[in-house]
């Protein structure tokens, strides 16, 4: 599994130009990682086969049992790797209006922590409101994010004149459409190099929720958008979320063949410290912190651009925020559900 790795580890400087469609470091701070970098899961060294990433809940964490069902569902979603164009419930019937849907947020953070997937868009650190939905990028040599809506008056689309901004987003070479997935996902079908765009296109289109709405997909929101919405759900992967995962599966040669392709399986260990690659926990954090992931990556021998995730990923949620866990009586099956949650049974 590949994800082009854009690391944001800038310390003591405001965030800028961070996290692309893949995780990549801020080049102003860490010039050794750039938009050509590609992460893979732990232990991938270039050999084909299945890669297993073990996700645990820290036994000392609050909400251990409470988060288990939703975390398990998010992991199943990653393993299924099925794209949906109807994954977004803007006004959830169950998530309280001020709450964060834990499963949706867990899915986002897991994609960072188990796969190195970055963000779809530049985010509000770069520009407020809908301009923040512009396709993720570095600012380029001029040091400025050139965010403009283009002739169609909408940000994030194929006609955005982005000047020298450096694109992070994998676009389909054939059509630059982010709402479908090519039959084969590798470097023959996807690119980040703007010179590979279809004729007349100026920049990579991303599939953010407004672009999706305009394209006839009103219930689509990429899991990897920077901003999450309170009271909403995004519990399934969208087409470009799956592309980000699948591209890496083409291995070091970035071509879907048998030589170095691999599959990824995320194993949910539960509340444990046994052989964990990612540990999930709730901690006391200041109010501005919702959730985050801390990971390491190491260059794979012989490559200057391919990394494998390493060490133990630290995935945290702020206990001082309002979370909705979606735990219901049917969460672990009708027969074994916790019937004490039923509000009334008559007679």
């Amino acid at each position: 599994m590949r994800t082009v790795l854009f690391f944001l580890i800038a310390l003591l400087v405001p965030a800028s130009g961070h996290a692309g469609t893949w995780l990549v470091d801020n080049p102003a701070v860490s010039p050794f990682v750039d938009e050509t970098s590609t992460p893979h899961p732990v232990l991938y060294l270039g050999a084909p086969g299945e890669r297993v990433v073990r996700v645990c809940i820290d036994p000392s964490s609050p909400f251990g049992d409470t988060m288990t069902p939703a975390l398990g569902r998010a992991i199943e979603t990653i393993n299924a790797l099925q794209p949906s164009t109807e994954n977004f419930v803007e006004t959830s019937p169950t998530v309280p209006i001020d709450a964060r849907d834990f499963e949706s947020f867990a899915l986002h953070e897991l994609l960072h922590c188990v796969a190195g997937v970055g963000h779809v868009n530049v985010g509000p650190d770069i520009a407020p409101g809908i301009a923040s939905l512009s396709t993720n990028s570095f600012s380029g040599d001029n040091g400025t994010f050139d965010l403009a809506p283009g002739a169609d008056a909408t940000f994030r689309t194929l006609d955005d004149p982005r000047a020298d901004d450096v694109n992070f987003f994998w676009f389909q070479r054939a059509n630059n459409i982010p709402f479908t997935v090519a039959a084969v996902v590798d470097s023959t079908t996807y690119s980040r190099d703007l010179s590979d765009l279809p004729g007349g296109h100026l920049f990579a289109s991303n599939g953010n929720f407004l672009a999706a709405d305009a394209a006839g997909f009103p219930d689509l929101m990429p899991v990897m958008e920077v901003v999450g919405f309170q009271g909403s759900e995004a519990r399934q992967l969208t087409p470009d979320d799956t592309v980000n995962l699948r591209f890496g599966l083409s291995g070091l040669n970035e071509v879907a063949d048998a030589t170095d392709d691999y599959s990824i399986r995320v194993e949910f260990v539960g509340i444990s410290t046994d052989g964990c690659n990612v540990e999930v926990r709730f901690t006391n954090e200041p109010q501005s912190f919702n959730a985050g992931c801390d990971i390491n990556a190491i260059l794979i021998g012989g490559s200057s651009t391919h990394f494998r995730l390493a060490g133990i990923g630290d995935l945290r949620f702020n206990i001082n925020k309002e979370w909705f866990f979606g735990t219901s009586v049917f969460a672990d099956g009708f027969e074994s559900g916790d019937f004490s949650n039923w509000s009334a049974v008559v007679p």
């Binding site: 509000p124 409101g129 901690t283 912190f289 919702n290 985050g292 990971i295 190491i298 001082n320 925020k321």
Partner: protein
């Protein structure tokens, strides 16, 4: 970015309200306790922490209007003991007694953030990162975490009795280090920042779980 700066004591003192009150403890009790002065007024901001960035959670209508929940400072403490915390559009107000406020300021001073040389810390961290990459090919990152800006102001401060009070007007900005601090065990400044973040998290928890006044 502004960095911590000391302003000439007399010049700064001349600008302060006459109500400035010394809260330094008597010398016979103080031992190593710092001496602290600040105006006990409602408009004097002793501490302000503004967290921005990271993965946000907002209401759809606010996002479309370009409003974020981090447009205003997250925490503010004023000279009259009033403390504000903004959380998901809700404003929490806490009133601290003189003693509580003094205790909180002493705690803030103990983190030493007002003495932090941010340029040096940033350069040191960057050097560590590059050395780690060259030695191990390893890079590390904290994703979706906020960037904090702390402003800390006192009209007079001395780390111990008997020394000349100096005004403090400090501003420090950093990318959250609570998850990254373990990679820099020998970097005292990063450890200080991490301790401060953890303290702020616990303070937040305390504020949210405090007993509410009856309506």
């Amino acid at each position: 970015m502004r960095y911590m700066r000391y302003i000439a004591f007399l010049a700064a003192f001349a600008l302060l309200p006459l109500a400035a009150v010394s809260l330094g403890v008597p010398a016979d009790q103080a031992n190593a306790k710092p001496q602290i002065e600040y105006p006990q007024t409602a408009d004097f901001v002793v501490l302000e922490v503004h967290g921005k960035g990271g993965r946000r959670a907002v209401r759809m209508e606010d996002f479309l209007a370009g409003r974020l929940d981090d447009d205003q400072p997250t925490y503010q403490i004023f000279g009259d003991g009033r403390m504000l915390m903004r959380n998901d559009g809700k404003l929490h107000t806490i009133t601290l007694s003189d003693g509580e406020l003094r205790g909180m300021i002493e705690k803030l001073v103990s983190f030493g953030l007002h003495e932090l040389d941010t340029q040096r810390v940033s350069a040191s961290k960057s050097a560590d990162d590059k050395a780690r990459f060259q030695a191990e090919g390893r890079v590390s990152m904290s994703i979706d975490v906020p960037t904090y800006t702390l402003r800390f102001k006192l009209s007079g401060f001395a780390p111990e009795p008997g020394r000349v009070l100096q005004p403090v007007d400090a501003e420090v900005t950093w990318h959250s280090v609570t998850m990254a601090a373990h990679r820099y065990p020998d970097n005292a400044e990063i450890q200080r920042l991490a301790r401060f973040e953890r303290w702020l998290g616990k303070l937040t928890s305390k504020i949210l779980s405090r007993p509410r006044a009856a309506k």
